[in-house]
C-alpha cells in the first residue's frame, strides 16, 4: 500500500535517452518509433543563428503521469484501466478491447498499442518487474546519468520524494485539466 509518485529534476536531463532504452529492456517493450512508454521531449531552439534561445531548448522527460484523477480510467468501458493498490494506473490486458478511447482521452499521449496482445500499454512504474522484485527504483530512474528522476511513496512523509516536494518548487504538466498528475517537475 503506497502512493507512488515521481519527482523530476528535469534541468539535469541531457536527452541521452538512456531511460527510454532501460524502460524497453526492463519491461520488454517492442522496438518501434511509436512504441515508447517514456520519452524525452525537446524543441528546436527559438531564434536565428547565432542568437539562439537556450531556455527554449530545454529537455522534458515525460511518461504516463499516473494521474490521481485519470481521464483514461474514467473513459474505459470495461474498467480495464484501473488504479492498483499503489496508486499506479494499470491496464488489465485481459479486459482491454482496444476501443482506444483512453488513447484519445489521455492529455499526455502516454498510451500506445502493444502489438503482441493488441491491447493498450503504458508506463506502469515498473510494477510487474522491478517493484514486483522488491526493488525501490524504476528502470528509468536507476539508469539516468544525471539522476533526473526520484521515485517514491508520497504517503510516507519521510520518503525522499516527500521531502523534495516540501522543499522545492515544482509544477506538473497540464495541471489545469484537473487530472492531478503524479509526476512533479522541479523548477
Amino acid at each position: 500500500m503506497a502512493n507512488y509518485v515521481m519527482v523530476l529534476d528535469y534541468k539535469n536531463c541531457i536527452n541521452c535517452k538512456a531511460c527510454e532504452i532501460a524502460c524497453k529492456e526492463e519491461n520488454g517493450v517492442l522496438l518501434g518509433a511509436d512504441k515508447h512508454r517514456i520519452w524525452v521531449g525537446s524543441n528546436n531552439p527559438k531564434g536565428e543563428w547565432p542568437k539562439l534561445d537556450i531556455a527554449s531548448a530545454a529537455f522534458l522527460p515525460s511518461q504516463c503521469q499516473q494521474c490521481e484523477n485519470a481521464p483514461c480510467q474514467d473513459v474505459c468501458p470495461t474498467n480495464a484501466t484501473y488504479y492498483d493498490k499503489n496508486g499506479v494506473v494499470q491496464v488489465d490486458s485481459d479486459k482491454c478491447i482496444l476501443c482506444s478511447y483512453c488513447m484519445v482521452a489521455c492529455p499526455y499521449d502516454a498510451r500506445y498499442v502493444d502489438d503482441r496482445t493488441t491491447t493498450v500499454d503504458k508506463c506502469t512504474f515498473c510494477s510487474d518487474t522491478r517493484l514486483a522484485r522488491g526493488e525501490v527504483t524504476t528502470a528509468c530512474q536507476n539508469t539516468c546519468p544525471t539522476k533526473v528522476r526520484t521515485f517514491g511513496d508520497i504517503d510516507d512523509p519521510d520518503s525522499e520524494v516527500s521531502e523534495l516536494l516540501r522543499t522545492r518548487e515544482h509544477f506538473s504538466l497540464k495541471s489545469n485539466l484537473g487530472t492531478k498528475p503524479k509526476l512533479f517537475y522541479l523548477t
Binding site: 539535469n12 536531463c13 538512456a18 518501434g32 543563428w49 518487474t129 530512474q141 539516468c144 544525471t146
Partner: protein, 821 residues
C-alpha cells in the same frame, strides 16, 4: 643490421613523450538502408521475478567502462543495471550501456573463425575451426601467404607486420602479443583521438588532468560536448549544477549542441579559431593582472617571456572578436568571471580528436590559461587525482636483432620526422598509412594484425585505407562484428563480446580512485573466445616455427645458442651438439616462448594483480562486487535515492601534489625551446594561416557525437537504431531554403577525398557556412544488416590533414560541396 636498435629502448624513449596522466585515459577511436520505420521485429528482453544470477561487470559500449550488473535469468542476459559501487560512473548506464544486450545477441556477430576465399575486400569468407585459422595465419592458403613465409623472406624483420588496436581493457593484452612478436610498428587510436590534447597538457603541466566538475563554480567547455559525448564522472557531475544551481557553464561550440542547451551561456564560435579565443582571454588576464600572482611566481617557467609574448602580439579581445565571430564584451566578461571564481574555475581540457592544425598550440594555451588562475591540483579546478597500485602482468619481450626500427622517416632539416615532429607511442595512423601507400617505407611492411579497431572507417580518407589493406598480403582481424575492416581481412578471429569474458583488472585514477574488473557474465556464444585465449592458441601454433625463422636469420641468436669449445669443461658429459641443443631450449624457454604471456587465465592474472597490492580479500571482493578500493566498507554509503558517498570529503584526492605541476621541472612550461628547432612554435602563437575562410558555395564539415552512438561500434545495434535510425547532415535553415533542401531530402556531400550521400536536417543550430553530421554511419559491410549503407560516412569525405606536432588527424579542416540528389 643495427645492434644498437633495441625495441625496448625505443619504446622507453618514446614513452616519455606519451604522457599518461591520472589514470582514466581510455582512448576512443573517433574520427552511414533507407531511413524509415524499421518493423518492430526484435522482441526485447524482459525481466521478471524469477531467480536470477547477478554478475558485476564493466560496460564496453564505449570507452568509459561504467560499472554494470548483469541480470541473467535462465541463462539469458535480460537486463543491464548500473553497479552503484563505482565512484567513476556513479550508478548510471547510458543508452548504449543498456543496449549491450542487443550487442550480445546481435545475429550478425562474428561466430566462427573465417578465412578469405574471394577477392580481398569483398567479404567472401568460409568458416573454419580455430586450428585451421591459426594454420592459415602461419602457413597461408592459396589466396594469401602465411606469416612464416613473409618473415622468412624478410629475414625475420619482425617490423614487417603492423599491429594496431582500438581502445579496450584488453588492448594491453594484445600489445603484449605485439611486444612478444617483436614488431616496432604499433598504431592505435591515439592519433585519431586525444593524442594531441593529452600530450599538450602533458608537456605543459606534466599530466593530462581531470576536471573536478563536482566543485567547480565556473566552467568553460569549448568544443567538448559532455551532454552527448558522455564521459564519466564529468557528465554526471556538471549538468546537475548548471542553470543557477551552483556552477556557471559557458559552452563554446560552433554548433548549438545539447551541451549548449544545458549551459548558462553559449558562444557560437567559428570552428578552428578557439586558439584566438584563448589567447584573448589570456591577454585580458595578463593585462588586467587577474592572474594568481603567488601561484605564478612559484610554479611558472618563462612567465615573463610568455606575458611579453601575449601582450606584444596584440591578442586583444577586439582582435579575437574578428577572427572568432564572438563579441568583444563576451571575451572580457568571461576572462574576468573566470578569474573571479578561480581557483574553482576550469577551462575544460576536452578530449576528442584534433579539430585543426593548430590544436597543439590551442591546448597548450588552454593549459597555461588554467594555470594562470592557480586552479591546478586543487578542489574545483583541474586535478591530477591519485591512482591505486596494481601488480604487473609481465610479458615476454624477446630481443630480435633483425627487427627494424619503427617505420618513420627522419626529417633531416628539423630533427623531427617526415610528417610530424614527435612520434608518440600510438604513432600517427594517417602519416604511416600515407607513407605506406607512397612506398617510402624504409623496409617492406607486408601484413597487419588488427584488434578491436576499424581503420576503414575511423580515420579520414576511406579510399586510401582500403588501398592500404588491399596491398597488405596478410591481414588478421580480431573483432566481434563484421565491420568494414573485417571485410578486408584474410583471417578473421571472432572475439566474444564483453559480456562473455573476464578482462584485465584496471586501476581507475581520479579524485576518487578505484580498481574495477570486468567479470564474465555468460559463457562465450558460438565459437568465440576472449582475446587472451585467442592469442594463447595462436602463440601455441606460431611460437616454435617463428623461433626457427629467427634462428635462421638472426646472427646474434645463432651465436647465443651455439656451444663452442670454451663452453665445455672437464666435467661436461654432453657433446657440443647436445650442449647447443640445451642452450637453445633454455634460450627458447627463457626468452622466446611466446605462449608464456597467455598461459594463465585472465581470472588468475587478475587475482594475482589485485592480491599483490591489496590482499586476498580485495581480490575476492572484486570478483563478487566488481569494485574495490581501500576502506570501501567504511567509506561507501548510500545517502539517498540517487546519491552515494564513495570517499568522505576529506579523503578525496583533490590535491595530491600541493598544486605543483608534475613536469620534470615541477613548473608550468610556457616556452618549449626544444620544439622551436623542429619548426613548432615554442609558445602558443596565432599565425595568419589559421584564419578561417570557407570558399563561396562550400561548407566546413564538422563531425562529432550523439549520446546514442559510439562511432561505428554500435552501428548495428538494433535497440540503438531505434533511437537514431540514421544520421542527417545539419545545414543552416536559411541556406537549405535557398537551395531548396527540405528535411529528409537526400544530398550528396563531396570533397577532394570522396563523396557520400546523406539526408538533410535544416536547423538554425549551425552557421550558414558550416555543416555537421555524426560519425559512425555509412558502412559498406553487407554482413551488418542494420548498418549496411545506412546514412553518410564522414571519413569518406574528410581530407587526411594532420596536425604537425603529433601527426594526429585534424578532423575539421575539410570544406565540402553539397547538392541535392
Amino acid at each position: 643490421m643495427d645492434v644498437g636498435i633495441s625495441r625496448r629502448r625505443f619504446l622507453k624513449g618514446s614513452a616519455a613523450l606519451t604522457v599518461l596522466g591520472g589514470g582514466t585515459i581510455g582512448l576512443t577511436p573517433l574520427l552511414g538502408n533507407e531511413e524509415g520505420d524499421h518493423e518492430a521485429a526484435a522482441v526485447m528482453t524482459k525481466t521478471s521475478t524469477k531467480e536470477a544470477k547477478l554478475v558485476p561487470t564493466l560496460c564496453e559500449m564505449c570507452v568509459n567502462k561504467c560499472a554494470a550488473i548483469a541480470r541473467v535469468e535462465d541463462g539469458v542476459v535480460v537486463k543491464l543495471d548500473p553497479n552503484p559501487l563505482f565512484p567513476k560512473s556513479k550508478n548510471m548506464l547510458c543508452p548504449r550501456g543498456n543496449a549491450g544486450i542487443q550487442a550480445l545477441y546481435d545475429p550478425d556477430r562474428l561466430k566462427r573463425p573465417m578465412i578469405r576465399t574471394g577477392e580481398k575486400g569483398k567479404g567472401e569468407f568460409k568458416e573454419v575451426s580455430w586450428e585451421e585459422a591459426y594454420d592459415a595465419i602461419l602457413n597461408g592458403t592459396d589466396k594469401f601467404p602465411g606469416m612464416a613465409k613473409i618473415l622468412d623472406e624478410e629475414e625475420d624483420n619482425r617490423s614487417s607486420f603492423l599491429f594496431c588496436a582500438g581502445e579496450g581493457m584488453a588492448e594491453h593484452t594484445f600489445k603484449m602479443f605485439y611486444e612478444a612478436f617483436g614488431s616496432a610498428n604499433w598504431l592505435n587510436h591515439a592519433s585519431i583521438c586525444l593524442q594531441t590534447v593529452a600530450s599538450a597538457y602533458g608537456v605543459t603541466m606534466g599530466a593530462y588532468p581531470q576536471a573536478d566538475l563536482e566543485n567547480a563554480e565556473y566552467v568553460i567547455m569549448a568544443g567538448a560536448n559532455r551532454a552527448e559525448a558522455i564521459v564519466t564522472p564529468d557528465t554526471m557531475d556538471i549538468f546537475k549544477r548548471t542553470k543557477g544551481r551552483g556552477a556557471k557553464l559557458i559552452c563554446v561550440d560552433p554548433r548549438f549542441t545539447n551541451t549548449a542547451a544545458k549551459a548558462d551561456k553559449w558562444l557560437g564560435i567559428k570552428p578552428g579559431t578557439d586558439l584566438a579565443f584563448v589567447l584573448a582571454l589570456t591577454y585580458v588576464t595578463l593585462d588586467e593582472e587577474l592572474y594568481n600572482k603567488e601561484y605564478v611566481t612559484n610554479n611558472f617557467n618563462d612567465f615573463d617571456l610568455y606575458k611579453e609574448h601575449i601582450l606584444s602580439s596584440g591578442y586583444t579581445p577586439k582582435w579575437a572578436a574578428k577572427i572568432t565571430g564572438l563579441k568583444e564584451s563576451d571575451i572580457y566578461e568571461i576572462a574576468r568571471e573566470f578569474a573571479a571564481h578561480a581557483p574553482r574555475a576550469i577551462y575544460y581540457p576536452g578530449r576528442r580528436s584534433t579539430f585543426s592544425k593548430n590544436d597543439f598550440q590551442l591546448r597548450r594555451a588552454m593549459a597555461i590559461f588554467q594555470a594562470l588562475s592557480g586552479g591546478i591540483d586543487t578542489k574545483g579546478g583541474l586535478v591530477f587525482g591519485s591512482k591505486l597500485p596494481l601488480g604487473e602482468h609481465k610479458g615476454v619481450v624477446p630481443m630480435y636483432y633483425q627487427a627494424r626500427e619503427r617505420a618513420v622517416n627522419k626529417n633531416k632539416q628539423n630533427d623531427g620526422y617526415d610528417h610530424c615532429v614527435v612520434v608518440s607511442g600510438g604513432g600517427s595512423w594517417i602519416a604511416w598509412r600515407n607513407r605506406f601507400l607512397e612506398n617510402v617505407m624504409p623496409y617492406k611492411v607486408r601484413g597487419a594484425f588488427i584488434y578491436k579497431h576499424n581503420p576503414m572507417l575511423n580515420m579520414p580518407n576511406t579510399a586510401k585505407t582500403a588501398e592500404m589493406f588491399k596491398k597488405m598480403e596478410l591481414v588478421v582481424a580480431i573483432d566481434t562484428m563484421p565491420s568494414d575492416t573485417v571485410m578486408y581481412a584474410d583471417v578473421v578471429l571472432p572475439e566474444c563480446t564483453y559480456l562473455e569474458r573476464t578482462d584485465p583488472v584496471f586501476s581507475f585514477g581520479g579524485v576518487e580512485p578505484a580498481i574495477a574488473q570486468r567479470n564474465k557474465v555468460i559463457e562465450p556464444m558460438y565459437d568465440t573466445k576472449p582475446v587472451n585465449e585467442i592469442l594463447h592458441g595462436l602463440t601455441k601454433k606460431i611460437s616454435k616455427p617463428l623461433f626457427e625463422i629467427t634462428k635462421k636469420h638472426d646472427m646474434f641468436l645463432q651465436d647465443e645458442i651455439t656451444a663452442s669449445e670454451s663452453d665445455l669443461d672437464e666435467n661436461s658429459t654432453m657433446t657440443l651438439a647436445e650442449l647447443s641443443k640445451q642452450k637453445e631450449e633454455t634460450m627458447y624457454a627463457d626468452e622466446f616462448d611466446l605462449t608464456k604471456v597467455f598461459e594463465h587465465s585472465q581470472e588468475e592474472v587478475n587475482e594475482h594483480m589485485v592480491a599483490e597490492k591489496h590482499g586476498e580479500e580485495a581480490a575476492k571482493q572484486i570478483k563478487e562486487h566488481g569494485i574495490f578500493y581501500p576502506n570501501m566498507e567504511k567509506y561507501y554509503k548510500q545517502l539517498g535515492e540517487n546519491k552515494f558517498q564513495y570517499y568522505p570529503e576529506n579523503k578525496k584526492s583533490y590535491s595530491v601534489n600541493g598544486g605543483v605541476p608534475k613536469t620534470p621541472t615541477k613548473k608550468i612550461e610556457c616556452n618549449l625551446a626544444n620544439l622551436a628547432s623542429k619548426g613548432v612554435d615554442p609558445m602558443p602563437t596565432w599565425r595568419d594561416e589559421y584564419n578561417f575562410k570557407v570558399p563561396n558555395g562550400k561548407f566546413k564539415l564538422l563531425t562529432g557525437r550523439h549520446a546514442q552512438f559510439t562511432q561505428t561500434g554500435t552501428s548495428n545495434n538494433i535497440a540503438l537504431h531505434d533511437l537514431i535510425h540514421t544520421n542527417y547532415i545539419w545545414i543552416n535553415e536559411k541556406v537549405a531554403k535557398e537551395q531548396g533542401i527540405a528535411f529528409g531530402d537526400k544530398v550528396e556531400v563531396s570533397s577532394a577525398t570522396g563523396k557520400t550521400i546523406i539526408r538533410a536536417y535544416p536547423t538554425e543550430k549551425i552557421a550558414p557556412d558550416t555543416v555537421f553530421f555524426v560519425h559512425g554511419f555509412g558502412e559498406e559491410s553487407e554482413k551488418l544488416t542494420t548498418a549496411y549503407k545506412n546514412g553518410g560516412c564522414d571519413n569518406a569525405v574528410i581530407e587526411d590533414n594532420i596536425e604537425p606536432v603529433y601527426g594526429a588527424a585534424a578532423m575539421h579542416e575539410t570544406n565540402v560541396e553539397i547538392r541535392k540528389v
